[in-house]
């Protein structure tokens, strides 16, 4: 029988998580300095 593969394996993509953290930190820094 075929194995049911979870399509959400990329839901928590590490590269995306790091990019998100960097972006939100930069936005926060801009808000603080403006």
């Amino acid at each position: 029988d075929p194995v049911n593969v979870d399509d959400d394996e990329d839901e928590d993509d590490p590269e995306n998580r790091i990019a998100k953290k960097m972006l939100l930190e930069e936005i926060q820094a801009n808000i603080t300095t403006d």
Binding site: D13, N16, L23
Partner: protein
Amino acid sequence: GSKKCYQLENEKLFEEFVDLCKKQTGEHPEVVPFLCNKRQRARPTFLASAELRNVLSRVLSRAQARPTKLYVYINELCTLLKAHSTKRKVPLTP
């Protein structure tokens, strides 16, 4: 001319990318205005360049294919716009 053509195409691609971001960054509504702000600060010559057209079309197609990496593509675009910004922060004199 081709410059005007790139400018219009870039505006269209940017809008498409922003629409995609609006749908997927609902938990962080500050992201889209930040991205738009970066675009406003970019040099007009860059906004009408083939380089931006290539990057926009790449991040748009990748974001559509891999929405789980959306922030990677947003970050890439922001970094590029920042590198071609007209306004740079000048350190305050003591």
